[in-house]
């Protein structure tokens, strides 16, 4: 198996979009290839697959965990020191609300940061093929192909207008 990276100049972004179409005609679905860019393009600009991520789950999980810890902390400390003043209930919701709010925020923040970290690394833990020219504006299309199809994909990229093709076996 070989990893291939077709590099297209920024001003020839149309060629990159054509290359993804050519790849699909050659039997590679948009699940097989990845588009790499130096800055974000509008979604679907290269005909790539719709990106799925679970980032929205992280802040909610963190918020829920933080809220639970805060409620546990405030309830437990008040129950451990059950002092009734003026006949009022032991658990005071107004005071607990403040700490619950803080716990919720802290949990949400920590989990969101962790979420960005995990979601932008996974599920692709290996660095894969990369070229620094991508940060200089080039558009990269990367995919893994069997050794016998390397030449065909190389030709496909070049016919579409690739400025360079990088192969890593």
């Amino acid at each position: 198996m070989a990893q291939m990276l077709g590099l297209f100049k920024e001003e020839e972004a149309e060629a990159a979009a054509n290359a993804t179409e050519a790849l699909e005609r050659a039997g590679y679905s948009n699940e097989h290839f990845e588009v790499l860019t130096g800055s974000p393009y509008p979604e679907g600009a290269f005909g790539e697959r719709e990106v799925k991520h679970k980032l929205y789950v992280f802040p909610f999980m963190g918020a829920l965990l933080g809220l639970s810890v805060a409620l546990l902390l405030t309830s437990a400390t008040q129950m451990a020191y059950p002092l009734i003043v003026g006949g009022k209930p032991i658990l005071s919701m107004p005071a607990m609300t403040i700490i619950a709010y803080e716990g919720t925020m802290l949990g949400a923040i920590l989990f969101t940061v962790m979420g960005i970290f995990f979601e932008s690394r996974l599920p692709n833990p290996s660095p894969g093929i990369y070229d620094p020219r991508i940060t200089a504006g080039y558009i990269g299309i990367t995919l893994t192909v069997s050794d016998d199809r390397v030449n065909a994909v190389d030709q496909l990229f070049r016919r579409a207008g690739a400025a360079d093709v990088v192969i890593q076996r």
Binding site: E10, E11, E34, V35, L36, T37, G38, S39, P40, Y41, P42, E43, F46, E48, V51, H53, L55, Y56, P59, T74, T77, Q78, Y81, L83, V85, G86, K88, P89, I90, L91, S92, P94, A95, M96, I98, I99, Y101, E102, G103, M105, L106, A108, I109, L110, T112, V113, I116, E119, S120, R121, N124, P127, G128, Y130, P132, I134, T135, A136, G137, G140
Partner: protein, 461 residues
């Protein structure tokens, strides 16, 4: 060209822009060095002022520390609030935010300076037990109106927890938004670090993540600002009860944050030679919400004032003297003039709004007025001695304590520290977000239209 002479700024190619910004990153100019030396020197002076104050006055009496408390309040409602403007603009997908986004986000690191100031201030505030605070803490022996058992550490531990959450959010925001540019600048030096390739998923996660962290930062800052104003100002003055005050402080944060962005934008354009990317349109667009915030400042300020002024109950009279017309009246009038009257009268005129200098002058008024407002609130409330803060009413209005040399050193040092961090970070990541600007430049073209030219902007979302 329009009849009023205005024409859209010419389009800039992405590659040209990137090379320009990357080229600037490679050079450390003499102005930058001078600014860093001055800011660093002021920060060191601030630390010296703090040490001298700690040695000479100690931490038993709160009075000598009032101006440091005001500095923390000022930074919260100016530097730390600067990202709020961009977070809001990003949420509504306003494209003109792009050249200002990084600058505003870097200001969030001012929370680190606030944390450094907050830690010693914590020890000057008494426990919430047997005091009138929002924690309702009673020991059960004093007869004071606490209604529950103790939540240990109130208010300090919980204010600190929220501030730490804010600092984490600030660092997370800066980390996430600078990640692509750090990789770009690293690649130019021949170093590819980290796991950033620029895949579609990474871009999607980054843009969504920045939005989420930004929203959390917004809520946390407004929350902490409210708690700081309650625990470190209102709860220290017997008889001061005002439900609108935290919201008023929230408005001063929105106003002060936007003013910070406008003044910084002017400095960046004028002295950072960014005229190609920061145009009059940015000042014009920012001046409109700034005018609205001036009116909101008056509305909320009036709402808090009218309760005391119109009610004028015995318990409220001395509070009004302390906060408005008594020993700190000069700071109240200063805040009123510079946060409302002067910027309102300046921004009222479209010809003034439609310039680079007009909104900057108004924003400068606001930044000075905001400082005056914080001195009135914090130096005023910190002049109330501990012995009387559990009383029903403020019987004697304490005399004004004007800042001495060490107070001025600490205030200047705190403000300089926040700006120092922004400039220091600006050398490590570009002061203009390369990836965000590139995205915007790609979506904008200037086209002829009849006898003029118009800017055509693609909005994919």
């Amino acid at each position: 060209m329009h009849s009023n002479g205005h024409r859209p700024a010419p389009a800039v190619a992405v590659s040209e822009f990137t090379e320009d910004i990357v080229g600037r990153q490679a050079i450390t100019g003499p102005r930058y060095r001078r600014a860093m030396v001055i800011l660093g020197g002021l920060f060191v002076l601030g630390v010296i002022g703090f040490i001298v104050r700690a040695v000479t006055d100690g931490f038993d009496d709160r009075l000598p520390w009032g101006y440091l408390a005001a500095t923390a309040g000022y930074l919260l409602t100016t530097a730390c609030a600067a990202p709020l403007a961009i977070i809001g603009l990003r949420a509504i997908k306003a494209h003109w935010r792009r050249p200002l986004a990084r600058l505003a986000e870097l200001y969030s690191l001012g929370t680190v300076v606030v944390l450094a100031i907050f830690v010693p201030l914590m020890f000057l505030i008494p426990s919430a037990v047997d005091r009138r605070t929002m924690y309702f803490q009673s020991s059960g022996t004093s007869g004071l109106p606490g209604t529950l058992g103790r939540i240990p550490g109130a208010p300090q531990a919980y204010d600190l927890a929220l501030l730490i959450a804010l600092v984490v959010a600030a660092i997370g925001l800066v980390w996430a938004s600078t990640r692509p540019d750090r990789v770009l600048l690293g690649n130019r030096r021949g170093v590819h670090r980290g796991r950033w390739w620029g895949s579609i998923k990474q871009w999607r996660v980054t843009t969504v993540g920045i939005g989420l962290i930004g929203a959390i930062y917004f809520v946390t800052l407004i929350g902490f600002n409210s708690m700081y104003s309650l625990d470190f100002a209102m709860a220290l003055v017997p008889g001061w009860k005002d439900a609108i005050f935290p919201a008023f402080q929230g408005i001063t944060a929105l106003q002060g944050g936007l003013a910070t962005v406008i003044v910084s934008m002017y400095v960046l354009r004028r002295f950072g030679k960014m005229e190609r990317y920061i145009h009059m349109e940015h000042f014009w667009a920012a001046s409109k919400p700034l005018l609205a915030f001036c009116l909101l400042w008056f509305y909320f300020g009036w709402s808090t004032f009218i309760i005391l002024w119109y009610g004028r109950m015995p318990v409220e009279q001395n509070v009004m003297q302390l906060l408005y017309f008594g020993p700190y009246s000069v700071f109240f009038y200063g805040a009123f003039l510079l946060c409302f009257v002067a910027p309102f009268l300046t921004l009222l005129w479209n010809s003034v709004r439609k310039s680079c200098l007009g909104p900057t002058v108004a924003a400068t008024f606001i930044l000075i007025g905001n400082l005056s407002d914080k001195i009135r609130l914090y130096a005023g409330s910190w002049s109330v001695p501990n012995e009387v803060i559990t009383d029903h009413a403020l019987e004697v209005v304490p005399a004004a304590r004007y800042p001495d040399a060490f107070d001025i050193m600490m205030m200047a040092g705190g403000i300089a520290g926040a700006i120092f961090i922004v400039l220091w970070m600006a050398r490590r990541v570009s002061i203009i977000s390369i990836w965000e600007m590139s995205e915007g430049l790609r979506l904008r073209v200037v086209r002829p239209f009849l006898r003029t030219h118009v800017s055509v902007l693609g909005k994919p979302e």
